[in-house]
Amino acid sequence: MSRLLFFPNLVFLVTLFFFPIAFLFSVGIHEFSNSIFQDAYLLYVLRFTYWQALISASLSVLLGMFFAFLIKEWRVFGGAVLWRFSLLCSSLPSIIVALGILGSWGLQLNVFGWTGILLGNMFMNVAIPLRLIGTALTDRERSSELTAQSLGLSKFGVFRKITWLAIRSSVFSSWILTFLYSSTSLFIVMFLGGGPRFTNLEVALYEAIKLNLDNSRAVQISLLQAGVGAVLFFFYLKLQHRRKIQGEQLVFHTFFPKRAWVRGLGLGFLWCLAIAIFVFPLFSIISEGVPNLAFLEWDELWVSFRTTLVISTLVVFTSLFFLYPYLHVLHQSKTDEEARKWMWLVGAPQFFSPLVVCLALSVCFPMVRDSTSLSYLAIIATQVVFVIPVMHFPLREGFLRLAKERDWIARSLGANPWQRFFFAELPFMRRSLFLSALMGFGFSMGEVVSVLLFSPPGIKTLSLNIFQAMSRYRFQEARATTLVLLVAMFFVFSLVGFLEDKDESSSH
């Protein structure tokens, strides 16, 4: 009977994500003509999109790996702060990042073009390799490294023969994710590209939907995007394996340098890069936002803030309503293979850009733009689709840590499924639930695309306000609103960081 809980999420994702994407594919293939490949501009855009994504992803992964080693192996000063801080940076709306980079580096060097795009993409994406590789480093089995070293293998040999094998799937999967996000970055390229020479497919898609109102071209471009997303998703799934939560770990850092000057050099490099990429842009948002607070109309801001809160709260509750029972049923499945067979469903939406998902929904259900209430529903539905992949991570971790023995004891004493849920599951999942909700809330607060495409006239959220102010060159208003959104997100993600630390300490 409890297996029925599996279906609401399945039906939701199939109806509002898989079916619209499949519909978009079918329409796109129908309308697809070779003319798209004879369009020299589009071919240039296609080349540029994946070329810049390749460079951005490679740089981000190299940097993320370097950071992960320094934080997890060298235990450099301030590493824990940077670890926590990286989550905030990756969840900030790209529009805020663009504004931060313009405000900081725009004054020193001409950021428009390659420099701005690479800086922006690295700001947004370094957290992915940092966290994935960092977690793989923490969870790896260290005793084999100790044994190999005691048998005379050099540190480089240990890395090549043992450590690399333990972390390589995280390196490749983080590269795939970073490549995908870099190729679909909209506002970074739009505001930091500086002109048609630096346009990617996502910007071309936005122009086709919003400016040229050319739905046929938009569908064809999104078909290209979605095709690449599907291929990347396939490779990503191949790299996935169910992670084992290790029990007590050996406290031993194979790559910890003995010489103090080497550690000092690492610390210096880490913080110089972190300041250049993360701190400087964020500091510029604060320093330029505070004096501009006077330009804000507080009544209007309050209305936008309230709308943002209402939408984000609804998104979080709806996501949990669908996601939690789904993961609960997967947790109860008899084998890991059975669980993995269905787990990919919740991760799939992150491989399609928000614009493609929104376009798919509006092509499949054209009525969503006809009435205000349906527009709201569309905003919430698309945001739920976007946050489900984000929110499922902490919940899955929570379920992995849940001891089946406690459930067995409750069952043997005669507890029914509800009693087992309330006594043997929920108390131990509370922190993961809260963490997941906070992460979803933070991501939803910064989401722009769905609001931009579906919001009825007169409805504003904080992120939409920033976009509109920037589009109309009202930079003072944009900076002040950005500061408000940044403070709100900082609050949410500080709580996430705090809970993550508690989670880690309670699991070891």
Binding site: A403, S412, L413, G414, Q419, F428
Partner: protein, 234 residues
């Protein structure tokens, strides 16, 4: 009539196979199960409790065939190596948990739970939260929780292996006296011969899913099986 009767039990889990011909336990008797890692000791407990499906055979508890029942209907309680308490509840609530599920009234639950806490010599801990007590105390609470429901069979999966030696000795005595006094049966899985020797009346030794010895504890003590020597040392 035997209180617990397991006959022709067969369990297949991939390439691992467990098979047992006959195990019979009278009221108050404890069966100790020993064997090297991977010999099927925990699988046997999980199959009897109903968490691993059996392929053939019968499991009778108090004359009732339970092999086709779900775990919650078998009336078999469990204790593991770790206590796995419900941490958001007090010690008393933990012990009363099973009683409430069995339909006892609130006052009755409190009374019986209090008595079991007294038997386990932890009556002063009743109002404490589960995370406020030590490992040894938590294991006593887990035992009290499993025994309070007065199910005819209790399964113990290495319940003392996380405890230190003096505490183990104390717990062995306590468990033996409680089981003998109450008339329950128990299956006790362990690695330590001293635990098995003191607690069990019969001993089953498993190797790769097959019984290699099934004898009275006193007989095994005088003529130790080579596998017991190998596991425990001379």
């Amino acid at each position: 009539m035997n209180q617990v009767l397991i006959e022709n039990l067969k369990v297949n889990r991939g390439c691992f196979k467990l098979s047992l011909d006959r195990i019979a336990l009278n009221p108050g008797e404890v069966l100790g199960v020993m064997g090297p890692s991977g010999s099927g000791k925990s699988t046997l407990l999980q199959a009897v409790a109903g968490f691993v499906p059996i392929d053939a055979g019968s499991i009778k508890v108090s004359g009732r065939e339970v092999s086709q029942l779900s775990p919650e209907k078998r009336k078999i309680s469990l204790v593991f190596q770790r206590p796995w308490l419900f941490e958001n509840q007090s010690v008393l609530q933990n012990v009363a948990f099973g009683l409430q599920l069995q339909g006892y009234g609130k006052k009755e639950c409190q009374k019986i739970s209090g008595e079991w806490l007294e038997k386990m010599e932890i009556s002063d801990l009743g109002s404490r939260r589960a995370w406020e007590i030590s490992g040894g105390q938590a294991q006593r609470v887990a035992l009290a929780r499993a025994l309070a429901v007065q199910f005819p069979l209790i399964l113990l999966d290495e319940p003392f292996s996380a405890l230190d030696r003096p505490l183990k000795r104390e717990m062995r005595k306590l468990l033996k006296s409680v089981i003998q006094g109450s008339g329950f049966c128990a299956i006790f899985v362990g690695h330590d011969w001293r635990d098995i020797e003191e607690v069990s009346d019969q001993v089953l030794i498993l190797e790769e899913g097959t019984p290699v010895a099934f004898e009275r504890t006193c007989d095994l003590k005088t003529h130790p099986h080579p596998l017991v020597k190998a596991i425990c040392g001379d």
